[in-house]
Symmetry: none
Subunit: 402 residues, 2 copies
């Protein structure tokens, strides 16, 4: 455990206060054109603004200034787990996101079904975005191999995406990707990045070969690309570190995966903001910490669609109004990372945060925007600094020392 | 030594410049009612405001954002000692605060005289707040036992509070408290928190038993509660790290204790702001660093009395006016931690700081309040970052590197 988590474990206490912890994916942006407005400034957000006005605001750096995070590390940081220490990659997140019952030592990787031409060159890294039904059928086709003492699991994720898990004695995950991230060239061979990974590399390359044989008849998905090999290990849990009964409300598998990794209860929350809100309402008595994930803001940012992103923000703000009717003592709204529409990608820009609680020290910020939160009372802090502040405001931390 | 202290030891030099380092206990707060004023905003503070106006301001985090500190760690942080590394608890502070001549390896604990009923249940954890005279008499009654090779010292602190010191070979301080922090149940037994602490635990439990025998006839203080067991060890001294001739001016024992722990000269300063000021005036030629402690602001905050806290701030401000007539080159005013009247307790909120020196870079802040200092030139920094800034402004730090 990091010193911060050790300290939190020492100071945390169980109380009845309730925390709503909203993560608006890809929240931050910047002016869509020079001198113009950011997506947050374009949107009308009465409820988010009210939290900023009545509470205390600031900006969060997910990893460190300048570093653009993936969703996994960005989320872990928000929950107080140093993302440079609790390093989690694509393979592990994918496996966790589909509820795969990982065992310690399992090596997981993300699979893309892909289209290869007769010469073995990659034509489409996503196999023409085959349907989830097709993806599921093909995963079943590849599932259950036994390669030189290694058990192979292949499980569908969504559309062209699947998860590969190798289970066997002494498998290392220090393996290179086969996905070259471009077309017109063949997939790469898996390479052992340390001598001890030799056996795991051979098993992975054998899997790729046998997969091509089994997929030979497929018109689109006749090959696989592998990336993000990773071994499963246990992370400290939210209940152990913070003494929290914590629930995750997220429509997308990966976010359920990362929260399950740190011991949150993943609620059955459907796949709309409405069903997510209902899941909170129904379970309000059972937990003291609700992580509520909003996905479509990030997708709109990645699509380069600022109006759509503003619209998604407004759609969530309406749902937030109803969440605020529930008996929460602390409400915090932030994002995992910025996704400016102009960049069509995650970015390094710090992320607005607003926290409302009876004993917070309000600042004079009254809007939930990048520019306003820059003047906020929390200042610019690492994302990992947020959880101690949230717990303090919830009355869930003992004093340090006499 | 932490890297910061190592660096300070390398860069510090002795000069004739003089520093006044004021610690207003429990300084920060927040609005007493929503939209209202904090205690600092209610008070009229011409001298503190003048330091803010002419100098540079900011906010300090004693341990880290969100963490509420005790006075010991909060003070150590102000003097540049990382409170997570130089971890000091109640027992040690209490013993140091009464000038007990601790030796390395001594195990100290805080004693509360308490009232127990016929069945051994705790009726009053403070024995009806017996007088200091009674406390002193009872401490003498318990002092001087010899338990299986362990020498026992019991010394009065104030009212119902006393200090227990065990001296013997190989005593561990990894012991649990007997004080359950509530009434209606019996005191807990001391438990060894590591196998090596078995002998120390037995000695402590034997002490509790013998104390009950000796206190049998007492109407109020017929039992003892122990907490904060701690072994004495040496900390780096201010003279060694900073090459400072440093003096502590504090009316309350614990603050004399923590400063003695880091090698400050504790002046005989009486117990009012007036006598404290006189102690500074009389000794101005002998030291180049004066720590000046103001206690009653914290007490008013803990009493939930905002007007009283504002009044205590004003009372100190008047004394500060006279301190500023003395030839100080650097004046810094801050607190160890916040104690908002609304919370009636220490809190995690960052603490205002203002520093005036000929070569500081002034900001445009002209009031010494939480909201104003949020806009200050020092930003929001850890308390441990203050000492290097103070020393730099006093011309007491060499350049780092060529």
């Amino acid at each position: 455990m990091t010193p911060q988590l050790e300290l939190m474990k020492k100071l945390s206490k169980q109380t009845d206060s309730k925390i709503l912890f909203v993560v608006i994916d890809g929240l931050g942006g910047h002016p869509v054109k020079p001198g113009g407005e950011s997506e947050l400034e374009m949107a009308t957000l009465p409820h988010l603004d009210s939290i900023a006005r009545d509470g205390v605001t600031g900006l969060l750096h997910p990893v460190m200034p300048g570093v653009t995070p993936g969703s996994g590390p960005a989320h872990l940081a928000l929950f107080g787990y140093d993302p440079l220490v609790y390093d989690v990659g694509r393979g592990l997140l994918s496996a966790l996101g589909i509820d795969f019952p990982l065992q310690n030592g399992d090596v997981a990787a993300r699979v893309n079904f892909a289209t290869l031409d007769a010469g073995g060159m990659i034509v489409d890294r996503r196999a023409g975005r085959i349907s989830s039904e097709t993806g599921a059928r093909l995963a079943t086709l590849l599932d259950g191999m036994e390669i030189d003492g290694v058990r192979v699991f292949v499980r569908p994720e969504r559309e062209y995406r699947a998860v590969l898990v190798h289970r066997g004695e002494g498998l290392s995950a220090e393996l290179s990707d086969t996905d070259p991230q471009k077309t017109g060239i063949p997939p790469l061979a898996v390479e052992a990045l340390e001598p001890a990974a030799q056996r795991a590399a051979e098993a992975a390359n054998a899997f790729v070969e046998r997969a091509r044989e089994r997929l030979q008849g497929e018109p689109q998905a006749n090959g696989v690309l592998l990336r993000g090999f990773e071994a499963h290990r246990e992370f400290p849990s939210m209940s152990d570190v913070y003494r929290l009964r914590s629930a995750a409300v997220a429509a997308y598998p990966m976010y359920r995966g990362v929260t399950r990794l740190i011991g949150m209860d993943v609620l059955d929350a459907g796949d709309t903001l409405e069903t997510e809100m209902e899941a909170v309402r129904k379970n309000i008595g059972r937990f003291d910490f609700f992580y509520f994930h909003v996905k479509k803001t990030d997708s709109a940012g990645e699509d380069g669609a600022p109006e759509k992103k503003a619209h998604e923000l407004e759609a969530f703000d309406a749902v937030l109004g109803r969440l605020l009717e529930l008996p929460f003592d602390v409400v915090v709204a932030t994002g995992d990372h910025s996704t400016p529409s102009t960049l069509r990608a995650h970015s390094w820009h710090p992320v607005p945060v607003a926290l409302r609680a009876p004993n917070c020290r309000p600042d004079d910020v009254d809007r939930f925007t990048e520019a306003a939160c820059l003047r906020g009372g929390l200042g610019q802090i690492p994302s990992t600094a947020l959880m101690p502040i949230v717990l303090a405001n919830a009355g869930k931390l003992e004093k340090y020392g006499a």
